[in-house]
């Protein structure tokens, strides 16, 4: 297995792919903000928001269910929100006594819980769409245009550049551990938890030393090649009229949605 599992970009030549990355980041964040501002239980507005995502999926030529299929990543975290069920006064739906907790599920609590899940589920889809239609180096440049500190941008650029290299390194370490961990059938192998943790810790230490030494070599190589402080890309980064237009349209749509939701 190779480490390029991290690359979430899907090549294409749609309008969404060609939109300026800065605009895409701004619109995605506005969309998430808009979700957060929608009142609990406003299913129509949530539905319209999802409609927008489906439309964008089609526009990006990714297929209607592209973001939906990948959106279940937020599911584990809904466990934390499940207590919202019991947190609001309202009409009682069910009562549980669970250890020291007296839990009263209310209709308002249920609405709140579902709204939270829907919000996060919509928000994660726009983020998936963003990285599926934007190459990560371009995203990094977008952050630069959005005035993030140059140094932080460079650290992120390096992280992305060497993520794959070090992930390969980790996979070599994991493979080596596996190759040395023979288990006889029917017998328990692998030592105690402490021993296993120590092995994992040694691997982390080994990885640290290798990474540190690699960064020395990289710095020398950078100096010899005349590195000027940022990583380049061939893609354009000027925001043209079309980008402004689409951003204005998005802001207009979000405003209308909010207006109707709060009237």
């Amino acid at each position: 297995m190779h480490a390029n599992v991290f690359d979430r970009y899907h090549d294409g030549s749609s309008l969404l792919h060609h939109l300026a990355p800065t605009v895409k980041v701004v619109v995605a964040v506005l969309f998430i903000l808009s979700n957060a501002l929608l009142p609990d239980g406003d299913w129509l507005s949530f539905g319209i928001s999802w409609g927008v995502i489906l439309l964008l999926n089609l526009l990006a030529q990714l297929g209607l269910g592209f973001t939906f299929k990948r959106s279940f990543i937020v599911l584990p975290f809904t466990m934390a929100a499940i207590t919202a069920l019991f947190s609001l006064p309202g009409e009682t739906l069910a009562v549980w006594d669970f250890g020291p907790w007296h839990l009263v599920a209310t209709d308002l609590g249920l609405v709140r819980f579902l709204s939270i899940v829907v919000r996060s589920w919509l928000s994660v889809q726009i983020a998936i769409l963003l990285v599926a239609t934007t190459q990560f180096p371009d995203l990094i440049h977008a952050l630069e245009h959005l005035r993030l500190p140059r140094m932080l941008i460079t650290v992120i650029a390096f992280l992305y550049r060497y993520l794959f290299v070090l992930t390969d390194e980790v996979m070599r370490l994991l493979r080596a551990r596996q190759a040395r961990s023979a288990v006889l059938p029917g017998q328990r192998g692998g030592g105690g938890i402490l021993w296993r943790a120590q092995t994992a810790g040694n691997m982390v230490g080994q990885l640290f030393v290798r990474s540190y030494e690699r960064s020395d070599r990289i710095f020398n190589a950078m100096l010899s090649r005349g590195y000027q402080g940022h990583i380049r890309t061939f893609n354009r980064h000027e925001v043209i009229a079309r980008d402004w237009l689409i951003m204005a349209l998005a802001i207009f749509l979000f405003s209308i949605l909010q207006l109707f939701a709060h009237l």
Binding site: V5, I32, D40, A84, Y160, A200, V209
Partner: protein, 311 residues
Amino acid sequence: MLASPTPLHIPDGFLSITVSLLFWVVTIAVLSVAVRRTESVDEKQVPLMGIMAAFIFAAQMINFPVAGGTSGHLLGGALAAIVLGPWAGMLVMTAVIGVQGLLLQDGGLLVMGANLLNMGLLTSAIGFGLYRSTQGRQRKLKLGVAGFAAWLSVMAGALATSLQLWLSGTARLDIVLPAMLGIHAVIGIGETLITVAALAFIFRTRPDLLEQTEGPARGGRGWIVVGALISLAVLILSPLASTDPDGLERVASDLGFLSQGTEAPFKILSNYSFPILGEGALSTIVAGLIGILVVAAIVILITRSRKTQPH
């Protein structure tokens, strides 16, 4: 094979806008200091931090089987701060958490301020602060304190996450806090074991790398105070908030306020201060005792390390 999501990466939608923005403000304030402090060091520092960010990202994939199909792995904030210094550690963790959120949707964008604070800033401050107090001491003590700091850093993240969820009206504090702290008390042990073993390995093979963080350039005595204060807050607040039975009813009514008005955060904070003033007497006493013990331990550590270091 991807880094398994720890239940600390909050997705979008789980925090209210007020809470999200509030924590963005705090995080940006701290990070802007971090950027200014690190920029002036030397130009080699930037590529080093980039590679170290990739290292933390990759190291989170190294797991070890614990029991019943679950596995422990690293969060890395404490380790990063110990080997790189507090400010660099914060920036490295910011890059890691930022990329996890942006690229892998492991954590939301609007709530990223909170995620950065929980997993990057708090962990680095605790990790480095407690470790710094052992400067000039024996290696065994250093490893022990580093291990404790690693565990506490995970607990701090869990505590902060629970409080943010509660302030947002997303979860009931009396359930989410014991659950989060309970899970992370166990996850934190994995963090401790890996951090200690990794540091021990680095001490054996490249002790020179660790000595670099001991210079005053990376972080002065002030960090001991910062680390100790945050640790204290975690150690006192956790048992107080999770065992105080009188808080239970209040929390429920507070959450009622939350869903109604924008002034909620202020109401919540003022209501929240009541447990510290003492309605749940038993929990206050227990927490107080723990607090005194921790203060005493830290004071002893600091005074001893001062004795060994003539200035």
